[in-house]
């Protein structure tokens, strides 16, 4: 099985947001939100010895994701290649995972009432394509690949180079998006956009236990309904869709 990871080369990144828009276009991300975005740290130092850095954020597909246990319905799960994914059919849009993510990588898509986030474009990978943000980057700052493949660029960066995880002493859950570049730039990005402790939605327990019953019911009904729809479709054939 592959183990997918991404390396962001901060030396290459120019902060142009090509990745943000390519992703938005690929996934119909509504305005005001992003599955990946670029932020610039403030400028520090004493004129003219200054420093600034770019931080590309997205889902880190962590080894020990805090979002998975936070999900009351099992919609958020980690697949065998390490990709943290969301099953939209099970998602109830409760926002527990949004609060649980230390990296602010998730948002509720109000148009569909479900959570959304980066999934390394798994549907594109299946077609032999790179994630949408990777190919579009004019600076080639995003490097995607398989950590099990010792000939891959990500392997080289992670195991032979100095690529770092954006972790702090308190929050170390094994993110699989790594950052390469000058140590001071990585440090500046980490200091500016450090992960925050996972939160739960209050009043957590009562709400989620209540929710679970509703969800089991909802999932059951949905399943039945979809099964009926599916078999009906098989028997009647498909009508042209007209807008």
């Amino acid at each position: 099985m592959p183990r997918y990871a991404m390396v962001i080369d901060q030396e290459r990144c120019v902060g142009c947001q090509s990745c943000t828009v390519a992703c938005k276009s690929e996934w119909d991300v509504p305005n005001g939100f992003a599955r990946t975005k670029v932020r610039q740290t403030g400028t520090i130092g004493t004129f003219p010895k200054l420093s600034t850095s770019f931080y590309v954020s997205q889902c880190n597909h962590c080894d020990r994701p805090t979002c998975v246990p936070a999900c009351p319905t099992g919609a958020t799960y980690q697949d065998q290649s390490g990709v943290v994914r969301v099953n939209r059919d099970l998602c109830i849009g409760c926002g527990s995972c949004v609060a649980a993510c230390p990296y602010g990588a998730r948002y509720i898509n109000a148009e569909i009432g479900k959570v959304d986030k980066c999934d390394f474009c798994v549907s594109r990978l299946g077609k032999g394509l790179q994630p949408a943000c990777v190919g579009t980057c004019p600076a080639h700052a995003k490097i995607f690949g398989d950590l099990e493949d010792s000939s891959s660029d990500v392997f080289r960066f992670v195991y032979r180079g100095a690529a770092k995880r954006m972790e702090t002493a308190n929050i170390a859950i094994g993110p699989n998006v790594y950052y390469a570049g000058k140590p001071e730039h990585t440090a500046l990005a980490l200091a500016s956009f450090a992960p925050v402790p996972p939160r739960t939605i209050a009043p957590g327990k009562v709400w989620s236990s209540l929710l679970n019953k509703v969800v089991y019911l909802a999932v059951g009904v949905t399943f039945l309904g979809q099964a009926v729809a599916f078999f009906r479709q098989l028997s009647t054939g498909e009508k042209q869709f007209e807008e």
Partner: protein
């Protein structure tokens, strides 16, 4: 044939997900807009969110463009696309687009129109132009085009008989650079700039802010060069993105670049670090140059530029060590102080001293591309000549140049040398791109007829008598891009991904229809744009169907001196056939034949010099209404030195109004108080603060630098408008950003 439809597909997949139960491989991995399935068609075209024209693949289904991505087959830009390119669909589907022809019924500027049919609109245009020709002569119509797409309209206006066409690309952008390099090497720089960034060992940027100024392949080559170990020297009063990656950031005092360049030349010559063999073989005027730079020591330059002499020496040595693989980028928007051709000359001379022109890692040479010709009847000659001063008052703004927009404005305003009574504006935003907007508005008052062809209701449309809605680049054919300044020269096409929306029409159609009505049909001797295109690409040995599927076709290039062949022509097509360190042309015209530093006026106390630039999410003033780009960057900020701000009691994030030396005021703008800019200048991104109500997202968002550029310093050699000669102070405001 049974087609999978979006609704059916989603139903089926979610039903399957339900069956599997855990939801593995369910609809979650697919975007709601249903892509990548059987009915998606890929159309190869090129982008026009800016003029770099990257290769694009448009994903089309059911007559809708679902997504744009880079065209991996494109010889220059490959699979990459910048934020703007990726957001092209939001121009196509912008609800604010011009939708049908409009005829003005209110006062100029008021924005009151009635809807007209195309027949009426085209007759209206043709009748007015016929009348103007009868009353005042064909020269009385000024033409303001922009970009390659204006080619068909350019033919129409030339055939009509007016020589008065002017684009800001020349006098408000890259003209001084092209003239400066032409005088030195015999060849303008051209676009895309043939700077060998990827092979360079030392990259020098003089005010260029690559990274914030994003042209995809230029960013790729820049970053690739740096990754391969190139040193980077950035000269900029502001700590730009490029400066943040530099080995040396030289925060130069604005307006003193020529002093720095001359000091660098001094060091290379005095310490005999220049490429002696190259200069002996290819250049003339070395003795005079040596004498000329004798006194321009680093210590002298330090007092002008405020850059330490030691650092001037270090950077000169860094370049010398890397020679000839030194890429001194000639810049693009270089109309700063009115001495800009001379600054470009100084950069060209430095490039020559390092032996870098025509050499790997420096600047490479263009390679010709064979093109088919479509013979046209001879164009009418104008007896009165141009009205904008190009070629006369400004001798090196030649006939081949793109004219002087501000000269045309002046001529219209003053009816001198003769009356200009009609304007045709195609794809140019005259109120934002031409400085001294007060003059442009006055000139418009003199007009009897003004027509605007555009995609969006930009401010100038409110002043027009006739507004013609053009199709966007994703809905039309344009003349092909023939690019010689690429290591592999190429031809790339623009073709429609879908039919034009609303009643918009492609530029070629509008021009051809007008020609029919104006008795100029002979100048459009082709059936349709495919016929036009196939005749132009006929000698390339590629059929149209193949070209349409690939989007572009490239050829072997001869980028370096050592590769040149007989058919490439002379390496240095100057008068002397050599690099002219001393310019014979400038000498003949009684201009300085070697660049001299002259001091520019400094801001009075309490004022800062206004400088401006670009952000990677926007293209000039044309993308601020784009929904996705607006989402990324809805307005601009004014960068002010943190210490200066603190002393003046201005807080970071505070909304202020800027006032210039003439009392012109900006719209409200937020302050970015930062250590990353000198204390004698203020910086903002150009393109915001439009007063066009029809642009519902961009209207009055941020501030426009053009509002504050009420004076210019004109380059006497070629007529460019130096615009960094305006000073601003901060007026606090308690008001919200409107």
């Amino acid at each position: 044939m049974s087609k999978i439809t979006r609704r059916g597909f989603l139903q089926t997949s979610s039903a399957l997900a339900g069956l599997v139960g855990t939801g593995v491989a369910s609809a979650e991995s697919r975007p709601p807009s249903w892509r990548g399935e059987t009915r998606v068609e890929q159309i190869a075209t090129n982008c026009e969110m800016c003029f770099w024209r990257c290769g694009v693949m448009a994903e089309v289904a059911d007559g809708k463009v679902l997504k744009l991505a880079g065209n991996p087959q494109h010889p220059l830009t490959g699979g990459q696309l910048c934020a703007r390119g990726n957001a092209g669909t939001q121009l196509l589907y912008d609800p604010d687009r011009l939708k049908y022809p409009l005829i003005r019924i209110g006062n100029r500027g008021e924005g009151k129109f009635r809807r007209a049919s195309w027949d009426e609109a085209l007759d209206f245009f043709a009748t007015h132009l016929k009348d103007l020709k009868q009353k005042y002569g064909a020269e009385s119509v000024g033409f303001f085009p922009h970009g390659v797409a204006a080619g068909f309209f350019g033919t129409l206006m030339k055939a009509y008989g007016t020589p008065n066409a002017a684009e800001p690309a020349f006098a408000q952008c890259r003209g001084p650079r092209d003239i400066g390099y032409q005088l030195t090497f015999g060849r303008a720089v051209n676009s895309p700039e043939p700077v060998d960034l990827e092979e360079s060992k030392c990259i020098v940027l003089i005010g260029s802010h690559i990274g914030e100024n994003v042209f995809t392949s230029q960013v790729t080559n820049f970053i690739t060069g740096l990754q391969r170990g190139a040193k980077l020297i950035v000269v900029d009063p502001r700590f730009s993105t490029a400066a943040s990656k530099a080995d040396h950031w030289l925060p130069i005092k604005p307006g003193t670049d020529i002093a720095l360049l001359m000091a660098w030349a001094n060091i290379l010559i005095v310490e005999t670090l220049y490429d002696k063999q190259y200069i002996e073989q290819y250049a003339t005027g070395m003795k005079e140059l040596e004498a000329h730079v004798k006194d321009f020591t680093p210590e002298w330059a330090e007092s002008m530029t405020e850059i330490p002499a030691a650092q001037i020496r270090d950077t000169a040595h860094m370049m010398a060590e890397a020679k000839p693989a030194v890429a001194i980028h000639p810049g693009r928007h270089v109309t700063w102080y009115g001495d800009d051709t001379q600054r470009a000359r100084a950069m060209a001379i430095l490039t020559a001293l390092l032996g870098a022109y025509g050499r790997k890692g420096g600047m490479f040479l263009p390679t010709k591309v064979k093109q088919g010709r479509i013979p046209l009847p001879p164009m009418p000659e104008s007896e009165r000549g141009r009205a904008d001063g190009a070629g006369t008052k400004y001798p090196l703004a030649t006939e081949e140049s793109q004219g002087l927009t501000q000269g045309l404005v002046q001529a219209t305003m003053n009816a001198s040398p003769y009356p200009i009574k009609g304007w045709v504006v195609y794809g140019q935003n005259i109120l934002e791109s031409i400085p001294q907007r007060q003059n442009t508005l006055k000139a418009i008052e003199q007009l009897e007829f003004m027509a605007v062809v555009d995609v969006l209701p930009v401010e100038q449309t409110n002043y027009a008598d006739l507004v013609l809605p053009e199709a966007t680049y994703l809905e039309r054919y344009d003349p092909p891009a023939v690019v010689t300044t690429s290591k592999r020269p190429f031809v790339a096409i623009r073709q429609p991904a879908i039919d034009p929306l609303y009643e918009s029409k492609p530029g070629w159609w509008i021009a051809k229809e007008l020609a029919n009505r104006m008795g100029l049909a002979d100048y459009f001797p082709w059936k349709d744009p495919e016929d036009h295109l196939s005749r132009l690409v006929q000698p390339l040995g590629i059929n149209l169907a193949e070209l349409k599927s690939l989007g572009a076709v490239s050829f072997d290039g001869h980028p370096y001196i050592d590769d040149r062949k007989e058919e490439d022509g002379p390496i240095f097509p100057t008068q002397s056939g050599k690099i002219e360190l001393v310019s014979s042309v400038l000498k003949d015209l009684n201009f300085d034949s070697l660049p001299k530093f002259t001091a520019v006026e400094q801001p009075p106390p309490g004022y800062m010099r206004l400088i401006y630039g670009r952000a990677p999410m926007h293209s000039f003033s044309r993308s601020e209404n784009n929904s996705w780009l607006d989402d990324l960057m809805p307005d601009n900020q004014v960068w002010i030195n943190a210490e200066f701000a603190a002393k003046a009691g201005i807080k970071n994030g505070q909304v202020v109004i800027l006032e210039n030396q003439d009392g012109a005021k900006s719209l409200p703008i937020a302050v970015r108080a930062t250590v990353g800019i000198r204390n004698d200048c203020a910086y903002m991104v150009h393109g915001f603060g439009t007063r066009a109500k029809g642009l519902t997202k961009a209207y009055k968002r941020g501030a426009s630098d053009t509002d504050l550029i009420t004076r210019v310093s004109i380059d006497p050699i070629m007529g460019a408008t130096g615009m960094r000669v305006n000073f601003v102070r901060v007026l606090p405001t308690t008001g919200e950003r409107s």
